[in-house]
């Protein structure tokens, strides 16, 4: 068996698998599948669809965050700002400008773009941990703006979606199915954008910048320019996810711009495995399901009957998630995807050793496009 040809076969296989998964997801509302303990209702009912939609929102948001942390090595604590810009942007456009849905979406995305450009340029004056602190400050300013200007944003109460401009098929509980499909579409779009960025010259440059900034400069390239472009793309994608969230929830609360949300997304990406697109998706789904199930658990009789030393921590889902996150960082450095990936590589290497491969140099060169071993890949 030839390694290069095997690689060539692997790629369409992954693509076919991905398409099949998307088709399956698209068919779920038409099927009657029950997964007790995971989904609250069978898949054709609104309860399960709403939960799955939320999971896809988090998966998509995690994908956009992975562009920052995974592809470009930027640790941002302010990503929620752009998500919130999408959600609030759409809400405000529909409420105050009275435009129909799609122009409203456009306005929300442009708003996200402008905010990302302005804050990105400033934040990129520093890098590393100072960058994280500065992005956090910007998100905090956004959060304060949202909470203060209650006339426009609804303040602490949040902003509910003005459904006048929204087509009927996207409104109300009965149409959860359509919203589910819309969310799936957004997830697919964000995935394709992430894939596109990773495969482009820009994406390669971003990865190189992550690895060795000085060398990028010595080659005549500007690391910050590459970073800024990726940053803005990720931000606009986050705005798109925010738009979907606004539609799905028929409203938004200030938490959508808070540091809490950014940290939630960070938790998802680290849990899933930094640098892996599928890791971000798996992380988003696991997080949402876990969060939901833990909330159910927290209110269950079993927990109520425990002594307070156990009851109090166990009745706080965020406490359990925070603890889980610490454990992952300390004991599972690659996250879920990173661990699976290195196991898989070791297994493959073992098999390749068994039947020695020897393609021509050029064939192997072409195979070299696959990302090299990331044994020591740690955020």
């Amino acid at each position: 068996m030839n390694a290069a040809r095997a690689a060539a076969r692997r790629l369409p296989l992954a693509a076919i698998g991905g398409v099949a998964l998307v088709v399956l997801m698209a068919c779920l509302p038409l099927l009657n599948i029950s997964i007790p303990g995971v989904l609250p209702t069978p898949t054709y009912q609104p309860g399960a669809l709403a939960l799955l939609s939320l999971a896809m929102i988090f998966a998509a948001l995690a994908l956009t965050y992975n562009m920052l942390l995974g592809t470009s090595g930027m640790l941002s604590f302010g990503h929620a700002l752009y998500f919130g810009a999408g959600a609030y942007g759409l809400g405000i456009a529909l409420e105050n400008l009275g435009v129909p849905l799609f122009p409203g979406v456009f306005i929300a995305l442009v708003g996200g773009l402008i905010i990302a450009l302005v804050t990105g340029v400033v934040a990129m004056r520093v890098s590393g941990i100072p960058f994280a602190m500065v992005t956090l400050a910007f998100a905090q300013a956004g959060s304060v703006l949202v909470r203060r200007n209650s006339a426009v944003t609804g303040g602490e109460e949040g902003l509910s979606l003005n459904t006048e401009g929204v087509p009927d098929w996207l409104v109300g509980v009965a149409d959860t199915r359509n919203l589910y499909w819309a969310t799936l579409l957004v997830l697919v779009i964000v995935y394709l954008v992430a894939l596109w960025v990773d495969r482009s010259r820009l994406g390669h440059l971003a990865r190189a910048t992550r690895e060795n900034e000085l060398r990028v400069r010595v080659l005549g390239l500007e690391p910050n320019r590459a970073r800024l472009i990726v940053f803005v793309i990720a931000a606009v994608c986050a705005s798109l996810v925010g738009v979907a969230y606004m539609l799905l929830q028929s409203g938004t609360v200030p938490r959508a711009v808070s540091a809490d949300l950014t940290i939630t997304v960070l938790v998802i990406v680290v849990l899933g495995g930094v640098g892996f697109r599928w890791g971000a998706i798996v992380g988003g789904v696991i997080y949402t399901l876990l969060d939901q199930r833990l909330t159910v658990l927290a209110n269950s009789d079993v927990i109520e009957s425990l002594p307070s030393v156990l009851r109090i921590p166990l009745s706080e889902p965020l406490f359990i998630l925070g603890t889980l996150f610490i454990l992952v960082v300390m004991f599972l450095p690659g996250g879920i995807a990173g661990t699976v990936d290195s196991r898989l590589r070791r297994w493959r290497a073992g098999r390749a050793g068994a039947d020695q491969v020897d393609g021509s140099a050029v064939e192997r060169l072409e195979d070299a496009d696959a990302e090299p071993a990331r044994e020591e890949a740690r955020s």
Binding site: W196, V197, R199, S200, R201, L202, H204, L205, R207, A208, E211, N212, L214, R215, V216, R217, V218, L219, G220, L221, E222, R225, A226, I229, A361, V362, R364, L365, E366, D367, A368, D369, A370, E371, P372, A373, R374, E376, A377
Partner: protein, 254 residues
């Protein structure tokens, strides 16, 4: 005189002081276009710092640097690179988690343009990929193209540095101890690669090297640095016979 063709690199009165310590002092150097020049001197003489000031990593506190007659003293590292300056580092520094091919392609991509493009995809038919493969074949690294650059041997990392330079269109190249840490068996091969690099690209090369014997057969001229200054700049034969060089190298204590 040679006023018609400006030197590829001209360093005038270069000085660097850090916290009261003098690292470089009044360094003057004219490197004619197309020449291959060696820089020798004991450890701590300021050779690497000289390279760092030329490539823009460190700002000098006095003096000017001119490339092809243009003053580049105040420009950024990337701007100097785009003007045709390429360099390697003393300790190999690559993109450790990218493949060998991707490492070289990053250099080729910087030259062919579109590095920030979302519309160009590095792949088989891509011009940057092809240039990278050619460069890797030229240094004999083609069969390791798919390995992560952080995992290859030290000698291979040195070859990778040369391949990276081959893939650019640099006209002035600074090599900082290209032989450091390379086993004696590989030195001859590496010398050949440097000669190739110089010949095929027709560029100007300035290299720091301790291995005087290596320089003898390779370079046109040798600059000797001691304590932050250049004390001699001449043909290898003359330099070898210079007692000041002997003293500088073997130490003048007692």
């Amino acid at each position: 005189m040679t006023a018609a063709v400006p030197p590829a690199l001209r360093v005038e009165g270069l000085g660097l002081q850090i916290g009261g310590a003098t690292i470089l002092q009044d360094v003057d150097l004219d490197v004619p276009a197309g020449s291959l020049v060696g820089v020798i001197g004991p450890n701590g003489a300021g050779k690497t710092t000289l390279f760092n000031t030329i490539s823009g990593v460190v700002r000098p506190t006095a003096g000017r640097i001119l490339m092809d007659g243009r003053d580049i003293t105040g420009t950024s590292i990337p701007a100097r690179a785009r003007a045709g300056l390429g360099r390697t580092f003393q300790t190999s520094s690559n993109f450790p988690r990218l493949s060998v091919l991707e490492n070289v392609r990053m250099a080729a991509q910087a030259t062919t343009g579109g590095s920030y493009s979302l519309l160009r995809f590095p792949g088989r038919g891509d011009d940057a990929t092809r240039a990278a493969i050619e460069s890797l074949e030229a240094v004999g690294l083609a069969d390791k193209a798919h390995l992560a650059a952080g995992d290859i041997s030290h000698g291979d990392k040195r070859k990778l540095e040369i391949a990276t330079l081959l893939a650019t269109d640099a006209s002035l190249i600074l090599l900082d101890e290209p032989m450091a840490g390379v086993g004696s068996g590989d030195v001859a091969g590496l010398v050949e690669r440097i000669r190739d690099l110089h010949r095929t690209k027709g560029c100007t090369v300035l290299m720091v090297e301790h291995h005087l014997e290596v320089l003898m057969g390779l370079v046109d001229r040798v600059a000797v640095m001691v304590s932050g200054s250049i004390i001699a700049f001449d043909t290898p034969e003359t330099i070898m016979a210079d007692p000041r060089v002997q003293a500088a190298y073997l130490g003048s204590a007692a």
